[in-house]
Every structure is written in C-alpha cells, then in structure tokens.
C-alpha cells in the first residue's frame, strides 16, 4: 500500500505545472468557468491543446504502436489533475472514450484517419447518446439508422449534446435493428458534424452552460463510419462509459472549492464573531474536509485499480456517486456560510469568492444526474459490487 506519488510522478507533475504556467493564457484558464472549464470550445483552447499535443502529452497511456507513450494511466491522471486545478481544458473524450474504443474495435481505416488527429489535437468530438425519451434508459434510444446503398440514412434526435456547437465529429449511437431486443439493436457511428441534415439548436441551463439538441433529418453516413461491428454498440457504450467516468472526473475542482470555502471561513465574521470560532461552522468544515479526503482516496483507488488493467466499474461508480453528492453539499454549505451576499452572482461587486461557489451551487445540480445518475450508479454497485439482482 502506498499513498504517495513516486519521485518520477512528482517530477512529471511539476513539469506539467510549469508548462501550464508558461503556455496557458488567461482565456484558457478562465476563472469564470465551472464545469465548462474542461471544454475545448474556443480557438485559444484549441491552440493550447495543440501545444499539449506537441509536448507529446496526449495519448500518454495509449500503446506505443498507436503513437502513445504506453505510460501507466496515472500519468494521464496527473496531467488532468494539473489541468483541472489550473482551470484549463482536460485531455478528454478523443483520447479517452473514442480513442480507446477505436483502438479496441475500430477498422484500420478509422484508426488511421482518427487516431493521429486525436494525438495532434486536430479534432474535437461531441457525444450523442441521450435523447428526449432515452436518458437513464439509454438502451431505448430511437435515432434510426437504415441501411442505404453502401451507407446509412439517419433520422431522429439527440438531446444534451453539450459539445455539438464547437466540435468537428459526432460519436453517435443509433438503432440499426428495431426487431432485436433493445440492447442488441444499437450501433455506434462517427459522423462529420458538417454533414447535411444535421441541425444544432442551443439549450441554456441553470448552470450558465450551453448544451444542444441535435436533429437528424435524413443524414447520410458512409458505411465505413460504422464503428466496429453492427449492433454491438451497446457493448462499446458500456465499455466507453466506464472510461468517461474515470477520465473526465478529477479531484482538483472539488478540492479547490473546499479550499476557497476554508479561506472564506478563516477570515469572515458574522455579527462580529469570526466564523472560524463557531462550533457548528467548525463541525461543518471538519465534516466536509473528511468527505473531501474520502473523495480523493476514491479517485486514487479508481486510477490505481485501472492501472492494473482491470476496468474499475464499481470503484468508478462509487467515486462518481460520492464526489457529486459531496460537491452539492459543499456548495450548499457555502451558501449557508456566506450569508445573504453569498447569493450574488459573479458579476456583482460584492459577491464573496467572486461568486464561484454561487455558480457551483447551480452547476452541481447536474452532477448527480449526468454521466449516469446516482440511481444508476447505485444499481451498478448493487449488482456488480454486492451481487444483488434487479427484479
């Protein structure tokens, strides 16, 4: 058992930290963002990702035969933690879900087209799974792909595709066999977002972030853009969701919010009494500190388990479940502690902590829902961690 990083890992962390300090400009580190920090949605952010690519830091854990460094996943995690801490975009779906799935299941042509672009940060992806009638029950998705000539004709709709408006390619799940049972009739496609027939419509959220509806109106997709085997999409999605849960989730933002709150508590007074002397405030902060440390441990457990080659599905579910609810508790505690002014948003002159925790309160609402709701996580843990079967 070892709770510390090795000298090599610490050296790498330091190197990344220095790189970010040198190369990431103010737009890349925009402190006004919360969950949108991780998105590569501006030209400056794209340019920054290209610098990361030039450094050879995309695909750190990819096998060397695919242009990666073949390093333990821990290095990618360290990179993402430093990026997340700084507020910079993360090494995301391209390197993670899409790259890994293509390496495992993609055709040679697909690998040759996409993998180098991913490594060079020349491509951004949007994820198209959820639909109006298919959220937690994702397997009931209805976007229809009908064979036509040597390709497919797609009709239907996706919802909550957050990255659609700034990405290049769409990783979308569609129904290819309506006769089969729902899990067995789904396929994955890679679709150029400039393809005619695709309409992207903005949706605003209570967390200040934009997401999108995407309408497919007779969209034609070439046959060689089917990912892997037909009707195997659900299997690939399950595999990919496990990667999303642990590559996109970092501890840094949670830790940062906790430390912001701690600094506030250390200096604020209420009715002339320093908050830090109030026993209830102390208990609240101590409880949060303990829970934040548990969150850190759980993420480390996911990362170190993944490093042994096993997909840590139960550990990842537990980590996501815990961290997301904690984020909500922390945000709520912050608003309780910051008094009336705590409700002021970022642009208000008197917003404590620049309104960051007020924003967090609104953003964290989604966390226990997206990426697999807490109920879904509990079902996974119950089934795979405790062996309890569903009715």
């Amino acid at each position: 058992m070892n709770f510390s990083f090795s000298p090599d890992e610490e050296r790498f962390r330091q190197e990344v930290r220095e790189f970010i300090a040198r190369e990431a400009g103010p737009e890349v580190l925009d402190p006004r963002r919360d969950t949108t920090s991780q998105l590569v949605d501006t030209p400056e952010r794209r340019a920054f990702m290209k610098k990361l690519a030039q450094k050879g830091w995309l695909g750190l854990s990819w096998p060397k035969e695919y242009g990666g460094k073949g390093l333990p996943g821990l290095y990618e995690y360290i990179l993402n933690e430093e990026l997340a801490w700084a507020g910079a975009p993360l090494v995301g779906k391209g390197v993670g879900i899409i790259g890994n799935t293509l390496m495992r299941h993609g055709s040679e042509k697909m690998k040759q087209f996409f993998l180098p672009k991913i490594l060079r940060a020349e491509i951004e992806f949007a994820l198209g799974y959820t639909e109006p009638e298919a959220g937690s029950d994702l397997a009931s998705l209805q976007l229809r792909a009908v064979r036509e000539g040597d390709g497919w004709r797609l009709n239907g709709q996706k919802r909550f595709t957050t990255s659609a408006h700034f990405s290049d390619w769409y990783w979308a799940a569609a129904r290819t066999d309506p006769e089969a049972s729902k899990h067995k009739g789904i396929s994955l496609f890679l679709i150029d977002l400039k393809t005619p027939g695709l309409t992207i419509q903005a949706m605003e959220t209570m967390g200040n972030e934009r997401t999108n509806e995407v309408f497919f109106d007779n969209v034609w997709v070439p046959g060689d853009q089917l990912v892997g085997e037909i009707n195997k999409g659900w299997y690939y999605i399950s595999e990919a969701l496990d990667y999303e849960r642990f590559t996109l989730f970092t501890f840094g933002p949670l830790q940062k919010k906790f430390e912001m709150l701690l600094s506030y508590v250390n200096s604020a007074t209420r009715d002339g009494v320093p908050l830090r002397e109030d026993p209830v405030v102390r208990q609240t902060m101590a409880t949060l500190a303990t829970h934040v440390e548990v969150a850190r441990m759980q993420i480390m457990r996911v990362i170190t388990t993944a490093g042994t080659g096993r997909v840590p599905n139960v550990e990842a579910a537990m980590s996501k479940l815990w961290s997301t609810h904690l984020g909500q508790r922390l945000s709520n505690a912050a608003l309780d502690l910051m008094g009336a002014a705590g409700q002021l948003i970022m642009d208000s002159p008197h917003a404590p902590l620049d309104g960051k925790l007020e924003l967090s309160y609104r953003c964290t609402v989604l966390d226990t829902i997206g990426g697999g709701s807490s109920e879904v996580q509990k079902n996974i843990i119950a089934r795979r961690g405790l062996g309890l079967q569903l009715q």
Binding site: M1, N2, F3, S4, F5, S6, E9, L74, E259, L262, V265, N266, R276, P279, R282, Q283, M285, A286, T287, A289, T290, H291, E293, V294, M297, Q298, M300, R301, I303, T304, T305, T308, M318, L321, W322, E375, K378, N379, I381, A382, G385, L386, G387, L388, Q389, L390, Q391
Partner: protein, 346 residues
C-alpha cells in the same frame, strides 16, 4: 501510489478471517454473549499461535497490517480488547520478559482505560513508585482484561487486574462484552509507569479500533445483503427492490470511504508522517459508517433483526460500544477542525 493490498496482506486478511471463523461460528457467538465474562480464550491463543501479537515486534508487520488483523476481528466479532492490546503491544513487549512471553502466548489481555475526565485518575509519588487512584464508571472490557492500561494525562500505567487495590464490579451495559465499574487505589511499581506513552498508544489505538469498527460495519452489511437475497415479500427477494439495494450501497459507500481513510492514517504513522488529522478524519468517518451500517442492516432485516435470534443485535450493540470507546464523531470532527483551521490541510 497504489491503494491495493499486497498479495501478502490479502493472505494475512484471509488467514485471520479463516482462523476466527473456525473459532467463532454463530452458535459460539451466541453462547459467549450469554456468559458473564465474554471472552474466547481459544481464539486469542490461536491469534497468538499465528504470531499476530508478535508480528510487529519481529519487524514483519506495520500498523497497516495490524489494522487488517483488527478489521478481521471486527468482522468476526472477536470478544475482548484486541485493539487496545495490539496498540500497546510494543510497550508491553518492553515491560519485562514475563509480560512479553504472556503477550506472545495470547495470555495477556490489556484494556485501555482512557482518562474519563474529572475527577479521573491521579498519580502521586509513593514509597517505591507511584500510587494510582481514581474511578471510571464503565470500562468496556474491564472484566475480561488481565491488565488495565490507565491513561493519566500523557502517562500510561500498566495495572495487573488482580493487583491489590484494583476493584472491578460487573455492570450491565448496552453490550455484554465485560463492562465493569473500576475503582483504583493501588501501588504501581516503577516498571509499571510508562511516562509520556499515552499519546502514541492512543494514536495506534485509534487506528486499529477504527479498522475493527469498519470490519464490524462490513459484517453487518454482508448480513443485510445475505438476508435481502433470501427473504421474500410480494413474491420476490427483497434484495431485488431498488430501495433495499440502494440502502446497501449507501452502507458500502460509507464503509469503503472510511476504510480508505483508516489505511491512509495507518500508513502515514508507519511512514513516520504527521497523522493526527488523518486519524481524526478516519475516526469521524468510521463513527458515521458504523451508524449507517447498523441502521441500514436493521432496516433491511425488519423485525427479525430486532429479535435476539438474529446475530445482528450482537454486532450492532458492539458497534455502539466501540463508538463510545473510540469517542463520538463530534469529538473527532472537533480535532479535524482544529488541525484544519491551524493550516494543516494538505
């Protein structure tokens, strides 16, 4: 960074589990809970026979490994103050060859009597050593111990339980683990006074007791899951209902989270790193997880868990006693807050 147990640690955990399961099957636990002195000498002798009381002394184990041992003891509901004995083991080793022998043979059973607050215990100089006086109304394993480790400020006193001036009176309590009211007015020979030893012993105690409590919490969860698989209502096992499943998951989440904090704290102590904040955070998390595990296990068991026919009450009673022994969550959180607001957060 590697949060997995080593293969050796997994073997260690398994072997203690197996050993204790052999000595403490359900029927034996029930018998023991009805006895005035709740202690299974054969189980202790077996643990000693495998060297668990001497492992550290022989340089073969660290505190993390001792936590794995006490975790297994918690799972098995081993009667007796194993956490206190293991916490004090290095000092017991050094307190004379007879004590060291007795420890290695599983004949030494030491209970830690923490300072119960005013008037508490006092040490005054006497003819050839010290006079120890004081009272404690409820010492959890007091009747079971061969020795009592009494903390007076930062000092520790090693008192043979049958020494003149040591008065133990059985008192009925929440769990039948050997509670006694203790009154002391006895001479302590020089060798029995361990100045300044209390903080270090208490840190170790906090770690290994936390681990033991997490084991008991895990056992209650397993019982709940097993029960949920078998018990049928409305035509199917209650374990197939989400509400029941989610309750079990909440317990698993609490137990696993607390356990990671315990291992980290023990690891830090093994590495000679500051660990007070970690120990307190772990203790706070464990206090919560034990409560969660008890409450959820009882809820899943329904009225059957309320009946003494079930083993569950033995575990949940012990868990509550252990929580008092460890100190309430509020107290641990106060410690965490003190460290936190003194700028010790990493």
């Amino acid at each position: 960074m590697d949060l997995r147990l080593t293969p050796l640690q997994n073997l260690l955990r398994q072997s203690v589990d197996d050993l204790l399961a052999a000595h403490l099957p359900a029927e034996r636990l029930r018998e023991l809970s009805a006895e005035a002195i709740c202690f299974e000498a054969a189980a202790w002798a077996a643990l000693a026979g495998h060297g668990w009381f001497s492992l550290e002394h022989e340089g073969e184990a660290g505190l993390v490994d001792l936590c794995l041992v006490t975790e297994a003891c918690g799972r098995a509901l081993l009667p007796g103050p194993v956490a206190a004995t293991l916490a004090a083991a290095p000092w017991l080793q050094g307190a004379g060859s007879e004590l060291a022998r007795a420890l290695a043979a599983g004949e030494l059973v030491a209970e830690l009597v923490a300072d119960p607050g005013p008037p508490g215990f006092s040490l005054t100089p006497a003819a050839d050593g010290w006079r120890l006086r004081g009272q404690a109304p409820a010492v959890a394993h007091g009747l079971v111990g061969t020795h009592l480790l009494v903390a007076v400020g930062d000092d520790l006193c090693l008192v043979p339980a049958t020494a003149p001036g040591v008065n133990r009176t059985a008192v009925p309590a929440l769990a039948r683990v050997g509670f006694c009211a203790l009154s002391l007015d006895c001479d302590l020979p020089a060798g029995a006074w361990l100045p300044g030893a209390a903080p270090a012993v208490q840190r170790r105690f906090q770690a290994v007791l936390s681990a033991q409590m997490s084991g008991a919490a895990e056992a209650m969860l397993r019982m709940a899951v097993e029960y949920a698989r078998q018990r049928e209502q409305f035509g199917q096992p209650i374990g197939s209902y989400q509400a029941v499943q989610h309750r079990c998951v909440d317990t698993l989440s609490a137990v696993e989270g607390a356990r990671l904090l315990v291992y980290q704290a023990a690891w830090r102590l093994d590495q000679g790193l500051p660990a007070d904040l970690d120990l307190s955070a772990a203790a706070a998390a464990v206090a919560q997880c034990v409560l969660t595990a008890s409450a959820h296990a009882h809820q899943v068991h329904g009225a059957m868990g309320y009946s003494e026919e079930s083993l569950l009450p033995l575990f949940s009673r012990w868990a509550r006693v252990a929580t008092s022994l460890a100190g309430p969550r509020r107290q641990h959180l106060q410690q965490v807050a003190a460290h936190l607001l003194a700028g010790e957060w990493r």
